[in-house]
């Protein structure tokens, strides 16, 4: 039975639009996977030597000490991004399949998610290096297995708490508090948690504890899921009263306003799209990592400041813009047969992105506290985002043909297997091009010339809008039939 269900999953994967969407995106996807695998492996391999030789600490002990933060971060990250194992359960309910088998399958297949597998790429090389450097094999094995259990533990914890925002935000808050306490040396939680992780290494008997905990958690996740396997319980789509939004004041902006009004409703009324707002806010504060000394000076050079600048104002651009026109996938045939000119439609999306970028830049004025050059980097990033990246997201949108199921409570990025890494990959040119521009510019006259080069490229892009829109429009038109076909697939 399990095998049959697996076959189903494999078929839905192989036949999805994301998988069959052409060579370019597939190559990007592959490249992205390799990039991540490479990064994790390098990190796993390199961190031993970095810690041992550069910092002069016992690598294993050091990793154990901070493991509590690593684990918690992983939980938070999963919470936002990892998708839920809601396979097409409705179809299976009335078929002669044991309910237990369905639940076991739904839960079991999450083991193979990117979030679990990617850990292996870090911990396996790390453990291998440990053994090579004289740590006893059996003890490293015991530690490693304990960590594996913990990784799976976070996996199922995420599934269990996923629809409980209150629990999640409570836990997240406590963690931030602990981090702050530690930073200002009020209270150091790692002195208590470090030894726990050490014990997995010191005495293999302790490594059984995480496995037992995992077992218990799996049981409760299982019952939680099973109890909610009814159409009017866990599988129900909650109906809400319509929320009134007054947007009449936008009418003065002509035909663009028609679509903008619709997009605002789209964002506010669907869980999936609402996330873009929260993630945009997260992006806004992302710069703090770069501009304060919390990164340990790792990013303390202007090229990386441009990188951060792009991010700070570009949250909405990356989270919303990236998925144009997929947001409208559910009713794309309507958009294609109604009295709509492509240019108006695209222009409306572009306007949304531009307005959000300007707005973020205004909100980001608090970065002035860190100095003029910091805000200059953000401003430069914003200009580049408007002038160049705004077009690039629309361009890549023509090729991302994965329909978005707005009503689903699945997480952004992750509702199609390939979606995640692929979109991230298409993000890379949007980030690295300005860094290269900056670098080239700065060769000729330092920091400010570098900023100017990036900003001027953005301004130039802005004035070429009509030309670029011609191109994008043609592209959308040639891709129209393929897009319509891909959107017909159910998510």
């Amino acid at each position: 039975m399990f095998l049959r269900l697996l076959q189903l999953q494999w078929k839905s994967y192989r036949r999805s639009a994301a998988f069959t969407s052409g060579v370019i995106t597939s190559v990007f996807y592959l490249f992205g996977m390799l990039y991540f695998i490479g990064m994790f492996t390098l990190l796993g391999y390199g961190s031993f030597y970095l810690l041992d030789e550069e910092m002069g600490v016992d690598p294993l002990h050091f990793v154990n000490q901070y493991m509590i933060y690593g684990t918690s971060f992983w939980v938070v990250w999963r919470y936002f991004i990892q998708k839920m194992p809601v396979l097409n359960i409705q179809t299976l309910l009335t078929l002669p399949i044991k309910e237990n088998a369905i639940v076991h399958y739904a839960l079991g297949r999450t083991i193979f998610s990117f979030f679990n597998v990617s850990n292996a790429f870090f911990f396996i090389p790390f453990s291998v290096v440990l053994v090579n450097n004289g740590y006893p094999l059996s003890q490293v094995m015991s530690w490693h297995l304990a960590i594996v259990a913990i990784v799976f533990y976070t996996n199922y914890l995420n599934i269990l708490i996923n629809d409980r925002n209150d629990v999640f935000y409570g836990v997240a808050l406590i963690l931030v508090l602990f981090a702050v306490f530690q930073r200002y040396e009020i209270f150091d939680i790692t002195t208590y948690t470090g030894p726990v992780f050490d014990s997995f290494y010191n005495d293999p008997i302790y490594a059984l504890i995480p496995w037992l905990m995992l077992l218990l958690l799996y049981r409760s996740t299982f019952t939680h899921f099973k109890r909610r396997m009814y159409l009017d319980a866990g599988l129900q789509v909650v109906k809400k009263d319509a929320q009134q939004i007054r947007l009449g004041w936008l009418n003065r902006f002509g035909r663009t306003a028609i679509f903008v009004k619709n997009d605002i409703k789209l964002i506010l009324r669907n869980k999936r799209s609402k996330m873009t707002i929260w993630i945009s806010l997260m992006f806004l504060f992302y710069g703090l990592l770069f501009f304060t000394d919390s990164s340990g000076g790792l990013y303390d050079n202007p090229v990386w400041k441009i990188f951060a600048g792009i991010f700070v104002s570009g949250g909405f651009l990356f989270t919303f813009g990236q998925y144009v026109p997929s947001w409208d996938s559910a009713y794309y045939p309507l958009m294609m047969s109604q009295n709509i000119v492509y240019r108006e439609y695209l222009n409306a999306k572009w306007s949304m992105i531009t307005i959000a970028t300007v707005f973020s830049t205004l909100l980001a004025t608090f970065y002035l506290l860190f100095g003029w050059d910091v805000y200059a980097a953000i401003l430069t990033g914003a200009i580049y985002n408007i002038g160049i990246n705004g077009y690039l997201v629309l361009l890549s949108g023509a090729y991302i043909k994965t329909p978005i199921d707005l009503t689903s409570t699945k997480k952004p990025f992750g509702d199609k297997q390939a979606f995640n890494a692929k979109t991230l990959l298409l993000t890379l040119p949007k980030l690295f091009l300005p860094m290269i521009l900056y670098f080239v510019g700065s060769l000729f006259g330092g920091e400010w010339v570098g900023y100017m080069t990036v900003a001027l490229t953005g301004i130039l892009g802005y004035f070429l809008k009509n030309k670029v829109f011609d191109l994008i429009e043609t592209l959308y038109k040639t891709e129209k039939y393929k897009t319509l076909k891909a959107y017909k697939q159910n998510t």
Partner: protein
């Protein structure tokens, strides 16, 4: 109004639609019947340029639909729920369509008032999103939305499906009424030959992608169609 020439749609080796020539004059109420997979939705999708013809052309008002977008100003269609926007309320959806067709809010309201009977008090002012309406009520919304802005060409795929008996009868009256306007051309597809014979003045039967019958509706048409489909 519509001119079809050598229209062919092939998926790899199977030809799903093959129409040598067909004209649908302005003002006609045209019905399309056929079994599943006969090509009804394919034909409508080609008319709306939602899929690409393998060969041949479709022209609305002498304009090839695949090369120009001019036809969009006077055509309205409702094929399935992908023509609805789920997160809008019915009112918002009607206003949205109205804006696209340059029809003011007041005019939309006036138009909707005329369909109070058809809506049967289940659509307007319910404060519900379209995605939370029943299939039948969604269909009512979709069909009425095509009337906004008085388009010259209406394309409705299976408009009677999912509707309750009362609404089916009202829709028939409604379409008959619309059909009297010499400027409005209506294309309807249906599995229900009785409905089609009551509403349409001309009926074409599609079978395996080809037009096998093309009839002007008379008193004998229903019998003839029944005989055809019982063979």
């Amino acid at each position: 109004m519509i001119r079809i020439e050598h229209l062919k749609k092939r998926y790899e080796d199977t030809t799903v639609l093959n129409i040598a020539e067909m004209d649908i004059p302005k003002g006609q109420v045209f019905g399309l019947v056929g079994n599943n997979g006969a090509g009804k939705t394919t034909l409508f999708s080609l008319l709306l340029d939602l899929i690409q013809a393998t060969e041949g052309t479709v022209a609305i008002d002498q304009v090839d639909v695949s090369t120009s977008e001019d036809w969009k100003t006077n055509t309205a269609a409702f094929l399935d729920d992908s023509f609805l926007i789920g997160y809008l309320t019915p009112e918002e959806y009607f206003y949205f369509i109205g804006e696209l067709r340059n029809v003011s809010k007041q005019e939309v309201d006036e138009l909707l008032a005329g369909y109070a009977d058809f809506f049967n008090d289940e659509i307007l002012k319910k404060n519900k999103y379209i995605r939370d309406l029943s299939k039948g009520n969604q269909k009512k919304v979709g069909v009425v939305a095509t009337f906004i802005g008085a388009p010259e060409l209406l394309i409705l795929d299976e408009p009677f499906a999912n509707l309750d008996p009362t609404t089916q009868i009202r829709l028939k009256e409604l379409l008959t009424e619309k059909g009297k306007d010499p400027n409005t051309t209506i294309l309807i597809s249906s599995h229900d030959i009785q409905h089609v014979t009551e509403v349409c003045e001309r009926i074409a039967v599609l079978e395996k992608g080809e037009i096998v019958k093309d009839l002007q509706t008379t008193a004998k048409t229903l019998k003839e169609l029944e005989a055809f489909f019982t063979k």
